[in-house]
């Protein structure tokens, strides 16, 4: 009986997780193309003379993504044998890119975002003894509007 529940959870985790990931990646790639006109760079200096700057505001975007049952099991197995936890790579990648996209969306009609930083944090790690297993990615930077 336990085994049946376990297999259902596993199958559900795998199918639902795969579908969610694929559709998220489609959405990320589309929005990345749309927002290509707005560069987000890590430089601290602004490549314009001070006189041309109309405004500079802080922008940020954050996202929380949860791991599915299948990925978690795969990671637990990896924990025993060691090696790269490939099942979590796409999770972190999605979180970072989504955070940058949200930051860009917040910037509106800015010309450039400088001094971009990305940070990650785990959330709900020890809730109810069993880890909930989500990751938060937050991206922040300074959005600059330049006079024409």
């Amino acid at each position: 009986m336990d085994l049946i529940i376990f297999l259902i959870l596993l199958a559900l985790g795998y199918t639902a997780g795969t579908i969610a990931e694929k559709s998220h990646y489609r959405s990320i790639e589309k929005r990345e193309r749309d927002l290509l006109r707005l560069p987000a760079i890590t430089m601290k200096r602004i490549p314009y003379s001070v006189g041309r700057i109309q405004s500079a505001t802080m922008v940020h975007g954050s996202v929380v993504i949860s791991v599915d049952y299948f990925k978690r099991l795969l990671a637990k197995l990896r924990n025993i044998f060691g090696g790269t936890i490939k099942s979590y790579e796409s999770l972190v990648d999605r979180a970072r890119r989504e955070a940058i996209l949200r930051m860009k969306e917040m910037a509106g009609n800015a010309n450039i975002i400088v001094n971009v930083r990305i940070e990650t944090a785990t959330i709900g790690k020890n809730a109810h003894r069993k880890g909930v297993g989500c990751i938060e990615a937050i991206a922040y930077g300074t959005a600059v509007v330049v006079k024409k």
Binding site: M1, L73, K86, S87, S90
Partner: protein, 269 residues
């Protein structure tokens, strides 16, 4: 200040995500884990089998005195218990002569089963007593349990269960999905192991039954009636670890023929 030309573009490949097949990964890893667990389990299992002949019945009694204490507290069915104990004593005194002091305990549960616990404590569930029709049937079931003591299966089973629990707890903690997964894999391999034990105990039981009554009437009655009953459900513990009833009846009948035993009138219980 000079400015660089900035051309925005999307990267063609994603270096941060390894292209991989997660399903393949999963099967390889869990397969390897299961293989290791099975190997360790069997190696330690053989170690248990190796050690068991050197554990004297006296030591066993001391080690597992707790089972006796646990069962001692309540004698829920004094009348039935007295009858069962008398029957068991007769088999033990006249035929089995095993180096144990056997004690029967009756436990209220629907389970159609009897258990051989360490230290000579036999637990009979009321579910089984309700189904039994003759003294011979009951004597056969008790003799079958005595067979487990003769082969010391009760210690083997316990030793292996202990090893599994230790491995599982050490690797994954007490309550974990991987522990359960490996556990299911192991219990399937364990089942064939216990089937051999059941067959040996059947043979021993048959000899005891013949010795006690002078014939083996009633040996297959219980299993025959059980096989007539409909689907025992997922929780029919008796059926999961014991060989299929029909197989068992056939096997017992073969043994009866091979040993040249006969069936006669049964005694009521």
């Amino acid at each position: 200040m000079t400015t660089m030309k900035y051309t925005p573009r999307q990267p063609d490949t994603n270096v941060n995500v390894t292209p991989t097949s997660p399903l393949k990964d999963f099967f390889v890893l869990s397969g390897a884990l299961l293989a290791i667990a099975v190997a360790v389990f069997f190696l330690l299992g053989f170690a248990v089998d190796f050690v068991i002949p050197y554990i004297s019945q006296e030591t066993e009694k001391k080690m597992f005195a707790i089972f006796g204490n646990m069962a001692e507290k309540k004698a829920a069915f004094p009348e039935k218990q007295r009858k069962l104990q008398a029957l068991l004593d007769t088999i033990q005194r006249d035929c089995a002569k095993l180096p144990y002091e056997f004690k029967v305990h009756i436990k209220e549960a629907d389970t159609i089963n009897a258990l051989a616990m360490p230290g000579g404590h036999i637990i009979v569930f009321t579910g089984l007593l309700d189904k039994v029709a003759s003294e011979n049937e009951l004597a056969y079931i008790l003799s079958h349990e005595l067979g487990h003591y003769a082969n010391r299966d009760h210690l083997r089973g316990l030793g292996r269960a202990l090893i599994f629990m230790t491995i599982s707890a050490a690797l994954f903690g007490t309550d974990s999905s991987i522990g359960n997964m490996v556990g299911h894999g192991l219990s399937i391999s364990e089942m064939s192991f216990s089937r051999k034990q059941e067959k040996n105990a059947d043979e021993f039981g048959l000899v005891m039954l013949n010795c006690t009554y002078g014939h083996v009437g009633g040996a297959t009655d219980f299993f025959f009636r059980m096989s007539k009953e409909k689907d025992p459900g997922i929780f029919g513990h008796y059926f999961s670890s014991h060989p299929e009833n029909q197989d068992r009846i056939n096997n017992i009948n073969l043994l009866i023929k091979a040993m040249g035993l006969k069936k006669e009138k049964l005694k009521a219980f």
